[in-house]
Symmetry: C2
Amino acid sequence: MNTRFAVATHILTFLHTQDGRPATSELVASSVSTNPTLIRRLLSELAKAGLTTSQMGAGGGALLARPGNRITLLDVHRALDAEGTIFPLHQEPNPQCPVGRHINGVLRRRLSDVEKAMEAELARTTIADMAQDVANANRQG
Amino acid sequence: MNTRFAVATHILTFLHTQDGRPATSELVASSVSTNPTLIRRLLSELAKAGLTTSQMGAGGGALLARPGNRITLLDVHRALDAEGTIFPLHQEPNPQCPVGRHINGVLRRRLSDVEKAMEAELARTTIADMAQDVANANRQG
DNA sequence: TTTGTCTGTTACAAAAATGGTTACATATCA
DNA sequence: TGATATGTAACCATTTTTGTAACAGACAAA
């Protein structure tokens, strides 16, 4: 299982609920139920993508780099995964075979439409939406 | 990298081009550039999903279980992957935390829309389409 | 300026998933 | 009966993901 996307979304949603107060990797880790190093590794990738910033030193921690309504799940996906990793192609099918010679080009074209559809849907949810959903769930149950 | 989907699609496209002649796992493996056991493992899953049949014994091999224009890439995806495996959730976030308590339910709902969009797009391509694309590529160079 | 806190990163181990190889019982055709 | 091919299991190597420990450097607070 690759839960990096789910954990990264959890982190960002958590940061949103902190409302400007820096959150330490230890605090975030306790919400996710994992260890601080894993959180810091993911935060490092999210920071490289411009989604979060961090303050070192006492009283420091992680913050959203911009308002949660301007961070989408597509941003999260792109921060973590290179393109074409949802349905990776197999390498070097037999070039002597009429099918093997062209299957990857054909697949790439068809699957790029699939990824586009997926990305369009990912882009429709923001971290602010996530936080709102979580708040609603807390109010109701 | 998980290339099972790509390889399975390759297999089915190859079977389509065989036009009713049973293909041995060794023949298919040579097109994919892998080993016959891997092919047989995938064929076994495809057969369970009703997409292929196999004939044991001399002169045997694998066949499409129905016409290629009635097998979509969505069928392939469903034959290989359980639901919710594209973006797996992390298990047991902290139930003491307002975010941890509800993040997975919220994520599941939002991501199910994403998978639906993806599946709708996968359903638009059939194995016959794939074979046609490959044939066109061969005609053109 | 000193002390304590927290990040960023590395190293290494553990666990899980994927793919490759071998082997063999069983089914089927000729 | 003999040759062929599937289905499946066992086992290993490789890669990816996750967990754990360690530590230099940045920063705040006293």
